[in-house]
Symmetry: C2
Subunit: 346 residues, 2 copies
């Protein structure tokens, strides 16, 4: 049984399809006699009419779909973000098409191409790099874009991020309050704004507290992964620098750090305190539970989606950037530094 079309409804209501269209569309309903509207609505109801967004899209060049570009759905910070987006777009009748880029620019280009072939009305992008020519190019082609979690240099589009600066300040304040004086930072990859903001905030906070901030205390990871965190921790240990706390650029980096510390016979938090960033799920069940910064990913997604819809409604409006509050979550991976220090194989 073929589903009812607008023509069927019009026939049943005894009007022209165009009138039926107007009656059913809230935008144009005002142009139609109230009685006629009722008649059409009743006919639509009784036939179980569902408008066909495909046909509509062909005509209006709008598809009520949007593309969501994320690095990797299996990274636990992204499912809440995606759900936040979906929760906010659904009331507007929008549907999300989600793609994974796996951090591969070729793949990203190809998959965004396929989104555009499907004529998505715009993109919410979580893969932004500080230097990201593809996004600049899309922007130049007037593709509506909202950035989440990260920003892109020279790209004047709306963005929604967590308050990384404040989060990092809180982390450092927490550690200094515990009495730590030599705090190391395993920074994220420097091609992402997130890593940069967190690293800068780290340095600023450490210097503010009049603590040492020599270069050996910061190691950069080339990816946001446990492996990269492990690698960086090995470097840190190898450098012979003294430290009693490690601030991970995110939770995964912190997890990698914990692995290597444990392999090196160092216990957390007795020998070294460790912190993460994001508060991904199940972190509370590790032992020790990881002290971290909770970033409201669901809300970030929802807010980004709202901004996206706004962009479509008022394209001329100046791009806003929204920062949502992040909060320190203290667990067992941070404690007062012990008397004994561990550097140089001590």
């Amino acid at each position: 049984m073929r589903s009812a079309t607008l023509k069927d409804v019009a026939l049943a209501a005894g009007v022209h399809p165009a009138t039926a269209s107007r009656a059913l569309n809230p935008q144009t309903r005002g142009l139609v006699n109230a009685d006629t509207v009722k008649r059409v609505q009743r006919a639509a109801e009784s036939l179980g009419y569902r408008p066909n967004p495909i046909a509509r899209g062909l005509k209006t060049a709008r598809t009520t779909t949007l593309g969501v570009v994320i690095p990797d759905l299996t990274n636990p910070i992204f499912p809440p973000l995606v759900r936040g987006i979906e929760s906010a777009i659904e009331p507007a009748g929008y549907t999300a098409l989600t793609i994974n880029t796996d951090g591969d620019l070729e793949l990203e280009r190809a998959r965004i191409d396929s989104l555009r072939a499907r004529h998505v009305d715009g993109l919410i992008v979580a893969t932004g790099m500080r230097h990201h020519p593809l996004l600049v190019e899309l922007r130049a082609q007037n593709v509506p874009i909202v950035l989440v979690n990260r920003r892109v240099d020279g790209l004047n589009v709306p963005s929604v991020v967590g308050d990384d600066e404040r989060g990092m300040q809180d982390v450092v304040a927490h550690l200094t309050a515990l009495g730590h004086t030599r705090i190391a930072h395993l920074a994220g990859p420097s091609d992402t704004s997130t890593a940069l903001v967190r690293e800068r905030a780290f340095h600023a906070a450490v210097r503010e507290a009049r603590l040492p901030d020599d270069g050996s205390l910061t190691v950069r990871c080339d990816r946001w992964s446990a492996e990269a965190g492990a690698e960086a921790t090995r470097k840190l240990l190898g450098s012979g620098t003294d430290f009693t706390a490690v601030v991970g650029g995110n939770d995964l980096i912190a997890l990698g750090c914990l692995d290597v510390l444990s392999d090196a016979g160092l216990s957390c938090p007795d020998d070294v305190s460790v912190t993460g960033f994001n508060d991904m799920p199940f972190l509370d069940r590790l032992s020790p539970g990881l002290t971290t910064v909770r970033v409201p990913h669901f809300d970030i997604g929802a807010e980004a989606a709202r901004m996206f819809l706004e962009c479509l409604r008022e394209p001329a409006r100046v791009p806003r950037s929204v920062v949502l509050p992040a909060s320190l979550v203290i667990r067992a991976s941070t404690a007062e530094p012990s008397a004994r220090r561990h550097a140089r194989g001590t």
Copy 2:
């Protein structure tokens, strides 16, 4: 700059749009002179022509999209499944529209409705209940459906599941080999086939090993969650039954169990061994690491997607059910039972 249409390509190649369409479509290419095909292809290339799937869909009543129906993307077993689906459909030019039902049948119906309004070519469904009228109804309307992870009573459609039976046998064999004789089971909600299969396999394996299988050793959870697992564990402890091992219906249930055991002053694995099911991410980082059954969710998704594409190609073909191997992953949450038993507050 408007993107090139088929008409543009035809014009550039000096042929009729219909010819260009035939030349570009692999299905119909055979009907066209090889030289003409080349000419059209070159023209398409140089204009950067991308066929418009929307317009095509309007004509062919196929959209090269499929709906993916899952309970909750933030449950860590689903992202790999979704990625598996996407990896398998992408080469065929398909795009997934994913929805979350949150276990709510109303929501499920509404969201599946919206998928159908978008004319998805079919559904891959991970929310199957043993009694699931909506799916039966859809099936009756000839909506192509493939089930993943679970089966539905009386629904004759293809399905892809992990080998729960074998997985459960391995779990019980592992525990009996360690010397456990009183093994409890926190079964999943009995309205899902997965819970049923696992519970039946549990009872069969226990009886096979000539171990006690009295009713008090099995408690059913009403959801697949840590909270439900905690609740069930409290019941189990409250019943006063003696046991030295608990087989969780899935990992989340096992996590809830661990919480309550720990609250009750029982240590795992010293006092009680605990196992899960699924091997969700980061389970290896808990302490103790959870012994569980690895279910290949990515592969389940990929295989389901392949079957889905097959269904579209040969609708007449009889529905197959595929079972993918699951494997026991032994970690620190299982050990030999200690001499002291813990029942009745011992």
